[in-house]
C-alpha cells in the first residue's frame, strides 16, 4: 500500500468522523451556518482526496452528498432528519469502502450498484425538494439545448468523413434500437502535465466504430510547435451505452461532448456533385409523393433515378440514403423530405434543425463541458444566425420555379419557429407580412431583404456572433465570452476546498502506534537496565570492597533514575488518549437506536477530555456500547410511559468521565425505570445463582449487582427483566481485562447508574514480589489486601480446608506450593510463622500462604506470548533489575 493511500485512509476516517458529528450537530441546530460550511468543506475535501485514487464508487456517492450539501448551504434545500439519514448512510457506505480498501488494497467493483443507488437517492431527494421551482436550472437547460444543437451540427459535419457504407451499417443498427453515440473528447491544453494520455484514453473507449483526430487549431510552424501543449481533439462513434462512455471518461466529464445519434442523422450524402443541383424535376415529383404519403411511388421513383445515375454521384448517395430510410423508417416523412430537398442544394440535410423542429429531445441529453459558463441569449442568437443564413442561402436560389411558394413557406415557418424559441414571437407577424409580399410578387426578394435586415441588426447587437460562422466554439472561447458575473462567482467560490489548507499547520503528529510501543518497550528496558545499578553498587562494596565507588554509582543512579522516570512518564503521556475518542461515536449510536425504538433521548457527555492509556480507552468501547444499548433498550421508557410516570418525555442519558488519583471513573447514568431488585433476586434464584437463604438476606443493592453474575444473562432474562441483563457479565469481563471494575446502582423508577473504574495506564504494574519453593513470583498489588504472618497453631481446619481467623473474619488459606503443584511444604520463619498474603478475589478475602515476602516493585508487564500464552495462572512476565525474570501470578485464575 502506498504512503499516499495510507494517509488518505487515515485522513478519511478522520473526515468521516467529523462529518458524522457535523450531521448530528446540524440535526439539532439546523440553522447553524458555520457547521454547514464545515460539513460542506469536509465532504468536499474528502471527495477531492478520493479523486486522487481510482475509486469511482466512492467519488460518486461523495459527489452526490456534496451536491446535496451545497443545495442546503445555498438555502435551496432544508436540512432534515431524512436527509441526515441519507447522508449518514452514504458516509457508512464510504466507511465500508475504506475498510475494504484497507483490507484488500482495492475497492471492489461490486459496489457500483449500491453506489449508484445511494447517489440517485440523494439526487432524487434533492430534486424532489427543489422540484421545478429553480429558475436557474431551467436556464441551464435551455443553454444546453442551443449549445447541444450546435454540437449536433458539428457532429454531423464530422460524420461526413466516415465512409457511407459504414454509416449505413450504423444506421441499420441505430434503427434497430442500438444506441449510437458521437463523442468528442477535447483534452485540455495542459493535460500532459497532469499525466494524462488522451490518445490512450480515447483508444480505450468502449465500442468505438469510427474515429477521427483533428487539431483544435491550425498547426504552427514546426519551429514553434509546443510538443507539450495538447491541441488535439478526438472524435469517435461508439455503440456503447451513454453510461459506459461517461464511466470511461469519468475523470474528465467536462471535456466530453456526447451526441446521441438519431438514425436519420447518419444520412449524409456525399459524392461527386457533377456540376451542381439539376434534379428539380425529380425533387418536385418526390416531394409530391411525400405530400401524398405515397412512399411506394417515392421508392420506385428513387430506384429508377438511382439506376440512371452513376454510383459515385452525390445524387446517387442521397438516393441510397433515401431508399434506406424508406425501408426502415417509412413513416419518417420529415427525414425523407429533407433528403429529397437536399438534392436542390447538394448539401447534407440540416438534421439538427429537423431534429429540433420535430421536437426531438435529442439536445436535452447532450452534455457539453461547462454549460454554466455560456450565456444563453448569445448562444441562442448565434444558433438563430446559423439557421437564418441557411434560410437565406435557400431563398437566394432562382425564383422562377414552381416550388417557390413551398420554399418560401417553409423558410418562413423555420424563421418563425426560430424566433419563437428565442422568445421573440412578436416578430412572427413581420415574417408573415414579408412572406405574403414574396408570395404575391412571386419572388423571394421581400423575405430575403427582411432577413438580411434582421441579420445585420443581430450582428451589431452581438458582434461576437460573427465568430459563430465557424460553428465551432472552443471551451476557451466560451470562457472568454462568459459574462462577468460568472467570473465574480468563481472568484468568491474557493472559500471551501482549496483554502482549507490556509488553516494553520497542525501541531499534531500522526504516529503509528507500533512506533510508540517500541519506545515504550525501550524505556522498559532502560528502567530494567537502570535498576541493575544498585546491584552493581552493592557488589562494588561487598565483593570488591570499594565503598567510594559504590557511593558514586549510587549518586549516578539517582540521576539516571530521575531521567528514566520522567521519560517513562512522557511516553505514557503520548499513549494517553482522551475518552472523547470513544465518546464521539455515541451521539450517532444514541440517535440511531432511539429513533429505531421510538424513544426520545438526549445524550449528555461530560469530561470528554479525561485521558487514559490508549489500550484502556480502546478496551472501553465495546462495554460502553453494550451499556448504552441496555440503557436505551430497557432503561429509558417510551415518551408516553414517561409522561404517565410524571417524568419529562425526553429521557436523559449522561456519560461522565473523571479522573481520581490513578484511576479513571466513567459513570453512565440514565433516568429510566431502573432495575427491580425483586425480579433480579427471583431470576437469580431460578438460575441457581443464589440459594433460598440468600434470597432473603441480600440487600437490594447486592441484588441488582447480581446482573453481573455469569450465567445470569440469558435471552429469557432479557425479555422478562425490567432493566439490564444483556451480557453484563461480558461487560464486566471486558473491564476486568484491563484491571477495571464495574459497579451498578439502581433505584426503581428513578434510573440506573453504572460506574466503571479503570486504571490510568496498563503499562506499569505495581507488584509485590514473594518467594515460594525457591523461586520468586509477582502478585499485582491492587489485589493484595494485607500481608500477615500467622502462627501455625492459629490455623484451623474446617472440612479438610485450612482457615484462619483474621480481624474477626474467617479467611480460607491456600498454600501457593499446592496451587502451583510443586509438592513442597511451605517454609516457616524462625518463629514458626507462615507468611500469608491476603488477596481479594471475586469479592472475598483469601489467604495465600507463601515462603516469604519481598519488596514491592514497578514492573512493565509483558503478556505471555506463543506457547506460554496457554499456561493458566500467570498474567505475564517482567524483567527485574538484576536481569532475572519475574513471573507474575494471576491469583484469580489460580484459585
Amino acid at each position: 500500500m502506498s504512503t499516499v493511500l495510507e494517509q488518505f485512509l487515515t485522513e478519511s476516517h478522520d473526515f468521516l468522523q467529523r462529518i458524522g458529528q457535523s450531521l448530528i450537530g446540524l440535526e439539532n441546530t439546523p440553522g447553524n451556518a458555520s457547521q454547514m460550511e464545515e460539513l460542506f468543506r469536509l465532504v468536499h475535501t474528502l471527495k477531492g482526496n478520493c479523486g486522487l485514487f481510482d475509486y469511482p464508487e466512492m467519488s460518486r456517492v461523495l459527489h452526490a452528498a456534496e451536491d446535496a450539501m451545497s443545495a442546503v448551504r445555498d438555502g435551496r434545500l432544508e436540512f432534515s432528519g431524512e436527509l441526515a439519514d441519507l447522508l449518514l448512510d452514504s458516509m457508512d457506505f464510504v466507511t465500508m469502502l475504506l475498510g475494504e480498501i484497507e483490507e484488500t488494497g482495492e475497492c471492489g467493483a461490486g459496489h457500483a450498484g449500491s453506489s449508484t443507488l445511494l447517489a440517485e437517492a440523494i439526487h432524487k431527494f434533492v430534486d424532489d425538494y427543489i422540484g421545478s421551482d429553480a429558475p436557474e436550472d431551467a436556464g441551464a437547460c435551455s443553454q444546453d439545448r442551443t449549445n447541444g444543437r450546435q454540437t449536433v451540427s458539428e457532429a454531423l459535419r464530422s460524420l461526413e468523413d466516415a465512409p457511407e457504407e459504414m454509416r449505413m451499417e450504423w444506421y441499420q443498427r441505430a434503427v434497430s434500437g442500438k444506441p449510437m453515440l458521437w463523442v468528442q473528447y477535447s483534452p485540455e491544453a495542459e493535460c500532459f502535465f497532469k499525466g494524462e494520455d488522451p490518445l490512450y484514453q480515447a483508444m480505450q473507449a468502449p465500442g468505438v466504430l469510427w474515429r477521427s483526430i483533428i487539431p483544435s487549431e491550425h498547426w504552427p510552424a514546426l519551429a514553434e510547435l509546443d510538443a507539450y501543449r495538447c491541441t488535439l481533439i478526438f472524435r469517435f462513434v461508439t455503440d456503447a451505452s451513454m453510461e459506459a462512455v461517461e464511466e470511461h471518461f469519468r475523470y474528465v466529464p467536462d471535456q466530453i461532448s456526447i451526441v446521441p445519434l438519431q438514425p436519420y442523422m447518419l444520412a449524409l450524402p456525399a459524392g461527386d456533385e457533377n456540376g451542381g443541383p439539376v434534379y428539380e424535376d425529380f425533387v418536385s415529383e418526390a416531394l409530391g409523393h411525400i405530400s401524398a404519403g405515397n412512399m411506394d411511388a417515392l421508392g420506385r421513383a428513387a430506384r429508377t433515378m438511382l439506376e440512371l445515375s452513376s454510383a459515385s454521384l452525390w445524387l446517387a448517395s442521397a438516393l441510397r440514403w433515401l431508399l434506406l430510410i424508406l425501408e426502415h423508417e417509412p413513416h419518417n416523412q420529415a427525414a425523407s423530405r429533407a433528403i429529397v430537398e437536399s438534392l436542390r442544394t447538394l448539401e447534407s440535410p440540416a438534421w439538427e434543425t429537423i431534429a429540433a423542429q420535430a421536437g426531438q429531445t435529442v439536445p436535452d441529453t447532450v452534455q457539453e463541458g461547462e454549460p454554466e459558463s455560456l450565456e444563453a441569449p448569445l448562444q441562442g442568437d448565434s444558433m438563430a444566425n446559423v439557421i437564418f443564413r441557411a434560410q437565406l442561402e435557400m431563398l437566394n436560389g432562382s425564383d422562377d420555379s414552381a416550388w417557390l411558394p413551398g420554399r418560401l413557406k417553409s423558410a418562413a415557418a423555420s424563421l418563425k419557429a426560430c424566433y419563437r424559441s428565442l422568445g421573440q414571437a412578436a416578430i412572427a407577424e413581420d415574417i408573415d407580412t414579408s412572406l405574403e409580399k414574396s408570395l404575391s410578387q412571386g419572388s423571394a426578394r421581400p423575405l430575403v431583404e427582411w432577413l438580411e435586415d434582421r441579420l445585420e441588426t443581430a450582428g451589431q447587437a452581438h458582434p461576437a456572433a460573427e465568430t459563430f460562422d465557424a460553428l465551432t466554439i472552443k471551451p476557451e472561447n466560451q470562457r472568454e465570452t462568459a459574462p462577468s458575473e460568472q467570473a465574480k462567482v468563481t472568484d468568491d467560490e474557493p472559500k471551501f476546498g482549496r483554502r482549507a489548507e490556509d488553516l494553520s499547520p497542525a501541531k499534531t503528529l500522526k504516529v503509528e502506534q507500533s512506533k510508540v510501543d517500541r519506545l515504550m518497550n525501550l524505556i522498559g528496558e532502560m528502567v530494567v537496565a537502570k535498576n541493575s545499578l544498585p546491584y552493581l553498587a552493592a557488589r562494588a562494596e561487598s565483593v570488591f570492597g570499594v565503598r567510594d565507588l559504590s557511593r558514586e554509582i549510587k549518586a549516578q543512579y539517582a540521576v539516571i533514575n530521575r531521567i528514566a522516570e520522567e521519560m517513562q512518564d512522557a511516553i505514557m503521556q503520548v499513549r494517553m488518549m482522551p475518552v472523547s475518542f470513544i465518546f464521539q461515536r455515541f451521539p450517532r449510536l444514541v440517535r440511531d437506536i432511539s429513533r429505531k425504538l421510538g424513544k426520545e433521548v438526549s445524550l449528555v457527555l461530560e469530561g470528554e477530555n479525561t485521558e487514559a492509556d490508549k489500550n484502556v480507552i480502546e478496551s472501553l468501547a465495546d462495554p460502553l456500547i453494550h451499556i448504552l444499548r441496555n440503557s436505551l433498550d430497557h432503561g429509558i421508557e417510551t415518551p408516553d410511559i414517561r409522561i404517565a410516570a410524571g417524568k419529562p418525555a425526553r429521557g436523559t442519558l449522561t456519560i461522565r468521565a473523571a479522573q481520581e488519583a490513578d484511576r479513571v471513573y466513567i459513570d453512565i447514568t440514565d433516568d429510566g425505570k431502573g432495575i427491580d431488585p425483586d425480579i433480579v433476586k427471583r431470576k437469580a434464584y431460578e438460575k441457581g445463582l443464589i440459594d433460598e437463604a440468600a434470597l432473603d438476606r441480600i440487600s437490594d443493592q447486592e441484588a441488582v449487582n447480581l446482573v453481573f453474575a455469569p450465567g445470569f444473562s440469558t435471552a429469557e432474562a432479557v425479555s422478562d427483566l425490567s432493566g439490564r441483563g444483556v451480557g453484563m457479565d461480558a461487560v464486566r469481563a471486558a473491564v476486568e481485562k484491563v484491571n477495571g471494575t464495574v459497579s451498578l446502582q439502581s433505584e426503581r423508577g428513578k434510573g440506573t447508574q453504572i460506574r466503571l473504574s479503570l486504571p490510568l495506564s496498563m503499562a506499569v504494574t505495581n507488584v509485590m514480589i514473594i518467594e515460594s519453593s525457591g523461586g520468586i513470583f509477582g502478585v499485582p498489588m491492587d489485589m493484595v489486601v494485607e500481608t500477615v504472618r500467622i502462627r501455625e497453631d492459629r490455623i484451623n481446619r474446617i472440612k479438610n480446608r485450612q482457615v484462619a481467623v483474621l480481624r474477626g473474619q474467617i479467611v480460607p488459606l491456600r498454600s501457593l506450593n499446592d496451587l502451583l503443584d510443586t509438592g513442597k511444604p511451605q517454609l516457616r520463619n524462625d518463629d514458626g510463622e507462615l507468611a500469608t498474603l491476603v488477596i481479594r478475589a471475586n469479592g472475598e478475602n483469601i489467604g495465600i500462604v507463601v515462603d516469604d515476602f519481598r519488596e514491592v516493585v514497578d514492573i512493565i508487564l509483558k503478556p505471555m506470548n506463543g506457547i506460554m500464552a496457554g499456561i493458566p495462572g500467570y498474567s505475564g512476565s517482567a524483567l527485574l533489575g538484576d536481569g532475572s525474570v519475574l513471573m507474575v501470578l494471576d491469583p484469580k485464575e489460580l484459585l
Binding site: S212, I213, L225
Partner: protein
C-alpha cells in the same frame, strides 16, 4: 529511449513515452523529409502523435497493433 533515430528514419519502439516528444520534435525540425517506422510500436503518447501531425511527417510503416493503427490513420489522413 524507445525511438531509434537513423539517418532519415525514426524507428519507434514498443511504448513511446511523453518524454520523447521533445526529442522527436527536434529531430523532425531538422529533417523535413524524415519518415517514421511504427512497425514495432504498440503505443505512443499523445504528445508524440501531435509532433508527428504538426511536422506532417510521413509514416513509412504503420504499427502492427490494429487499434493503434486505426487511430493513427484517423489522425494522419487529415
Amino acid at each position: 529511449m524507445t525511438i531509434t533515430f537513423k539517418k532519415n528514419m525514426a524507428l519507434f519502439g514498443e511504448g513511446v513515452t511523453v518524454e520523447e516528444a521533445e526529442t522527436l520534435l527536434q529531430w523532425l525540425q531538422t529533417r523535413p523529409k524524415a519518415k517514421l517506422d511504427l512497425t514495432q510500436c504498440t503505443h505512443l503518447h499523445t504528445s508524440n502523435l501531435q509532433v508527428m501531425l504538426g511536422a506532417k511527417a510521413t509514416v513509412a510503416a504503420w504499427p502492427g497493433d490494429k487499434n493503434l493503427k486505426l487511430w493513427l490513420q484517423a489522425a494522419i489522413k487529415h
